[in-house]
Amino acid sequence: MSLSNETIKQKLTEKFGESVTGFSETYGMLGFEAPREMNLKVLNFLFDDEELRFRFLTDLCGVHYPDKKDREIAVVYHLHNLVDNIRLRFTVYTPVAKPDIFTATGVFSSANWMERETYDFYGVNFVGHPNLIRILNVDEMDYFPMRKEFPLEDQTRIDKDDEMFGRGGSAGFGTEKTTHGTVTEDEKDNVGEELK
């Protein structure tokens, strides 16, 4: 464990100066961010540097912060140096209007599907990705479902008439209209007509 968070921070500021910002250390993991056009430079530096050796991409995912102006979509990389056993978190923010960042597939083959997943759910356009298509959702889907503008249904709502799933609404419980097996007023006279 020769490498410490302090050293990583130092090396990063030495190399990139003012560009890398937002250093934090939460639950022992170093986190920082960089401008989106620099993500590949930073990843390459972390990969190639003889001392840093962050050569394992543990995780890549997106987060949507609708309130952060022009940095709505975050792409989060979790990197692992397996030799010194130290992890770090690297975040890149991109505006939701034009969510373009460079792909990391050239550095990590594992980024391929993880980037496709991030594209699938957040619409991040990974420039240079060999096959940027949806992976878990259907190809016909025309929106990015993990964005915060698509809230999940409120489980307490009662206005929904969905009696098949036990959601007739508590106000009208037991008075739901059913169409099968019931006889309307007009039909009443004709009931049993055939039997007569």
Binding site: T26, Y27, M29, G31, R55, F56, L57, T58, D59, C61, V63, H64, V76, H78, L82, N85, R87, R89, F108, S109, S110, N112, W113, M114, E117, F121, R134, I135, L136, N137, V138, P145, M146, P151, L152, Q155
Partner: protein, 407 residues
């Protein structure tokens, strides 16, 4: 000649390769996934994977659920070893909330996680035998998966999707039947495992079918984000239990088996050896559990009333218990804002939880790092140029679980 009788439509280009669809439901895929294989004779030219058939949007659902309601979602990731997923999730929450678990809870967790690892590996190894044409070994070990499920049942009441444990510990102490069944398992399973090994390990047919099949170098495996037995088979001794110990794994003495070539045979051997190691860990954990005496021997959860559900009896009779019960059920626990990444060694590798909290009642964002999803993308590279039947056994040696892949 045959081609004289085949009338191709006007203007069509004659294709020299065959397209074969494996899946979404096919006996050889062991799950709901599709593989479009392009074949030249019996050799694979290219494969294309389609996944997502059982995508259930767990990450989205989790954004509206209090912590305790997310545990059942994790069950359904790798359903061959649900307890590991459950524990991984609890440990992530505990890390965020700053809950310290007592040693006894850690050891109980280790017991249940290692049992889950065995049940995961025994399926994978014996299914490899089935895919190579040796069905019998599968039956020998399968009855012990049943025994493991009975142990789960004694502890939490369910078998496959276990929803085991709570934040801070377990919902109840292990009973004597559970311990008796664990002892029975430890006494009888080695015999069955030896039998499986004697059927396959030095079996000429099995060796010919698996050695040199679907190999991946350590370098490529790491670049592809392999973890767990599949990475260790390639010769990299990375194990989350050792590198970032959780649940007091540092107290245990075990070795990490590694392979050399990263082929299907090595993956099989690594998993077999891990089962032996897991049994040794369970024995050590049981010994450690016996050392607790008096009140300590009854501890099965941390003393954190604000996160751990009180006993139902107390809810009806005590004011504080009722308040805590209400708060936990309504998801009103105090959650610090922050980001936490935590991982455990799942059956297939590093199962990670990236939890972004904004201090609200539910996670702001929860991402599961599913090992299957990440290493399945190497399948094309691993099978290129190999025979179709080798691709089948490569797939089963990777132990792909559709539930984990699709989340």
């Amino acid at each position: 000649m045959a081609d004289q009788h085949i009338k191709l439509p006007e203007g069509s280009i004659e294709k020299t390769t065959t397209t074969l669809n494996l899946g979404p439901t096919h006996p050889a895929t062991h799950g709901v996934m599709q593989n479009i294989v392009e074949l030249d004779g019996e050799r694979i030219v290219s494969t294309e994977q389609t996944i997502g058939y059982i995508h259930r949007a767990f990450e989205k659902i989790a954004e509206r659920r209090p912590l305790y309601q997310i545990t059942p979602l994790t069950d359904r990731l790798n359903y061959c070893s649900s307890p590991i997923n459950n524990m991984g999730w609890h440990i992530t929450c505990e890390k965020l909330l700053g809950v310290q678990t007592p040693k006894r809870v850690d050891y109980l967790r280790v017991v249940i996680m290692e049992l889950a690892r065995i049940s995961d590996h025994l399926i994978c190894t014996s299914i490899m035998g089935v895919d190579a044409g040796a069905f019998t070994g599968f039956l020998y070990v399968m009855s012990y998966r049943e025994l493991i499920y009975e142990i789960y049942e004694e502890i939490c009441g369910s078998r496959l999707t276990t929803n085991i444990g709570r934040i801070g510990g377990f919902e109840r102490n292990f009973n004597d039947i559970a311990f008796a069944k664990i002892d029975k398992f430890l006494a009888e399973y080695p015999k069955a495992l030896k039998e499986l090994e004697s059927l396959l390990n030095r079996n000429r047919i099995f060796m010919d079918r698996t050695q040199g099949v679907g190999p991946i170098s350590a370098d490529r495996a790491m670049n592809y984000g392999f973890t767990g037995p599949n990475l260790r088979a390639a010769g990299v001794d990375y194990d989350v239990r050792v590198h970032s110990p959780y649940s007091s794994y540092e107290d245990f003495d075990f070795t990490i088996p590694v392979g050399t070539t990263g082929d299907s045979y090595d993956r099989y051997m690594v998993r077999i050896e891990e089962m032996w190691q897991s049994m040794s860990i369970i024995r050590q954990a049981l010994d450690k559990l016996k050392q607790f005496t008096g009140a300590e021997a009854e501890v099965y959860h941390a003393d954190v009333p604000e996160y751990y559900l009180p006993k139902k009896k107390d809810v009806y009779t005590k004011m504080e218990a009722l308040i805590y019960h209400f708060k936990i059920i309504m998801g009103e626990v105090e959650m610090p804002a922050g980001e936490v990444y935590n991982s455990v060694e799942g059956g297939n590798g590093e199962l990670g939880f990236y939890f972004v909290s904004d201090g609200g009642r539910t996670p702001y964002r929860l991402h599961f790092r599913r090992p299957c999803f990440i290493y399945y993308q190497a399948y094309e590279e691993m099978t290129k140029g190999s025979m179709l039947s080798d691709a089948i056994i490569t797939m089963s040696s990777l132990n792909l679980i559709a539930g984990e892949m699709d989340a």
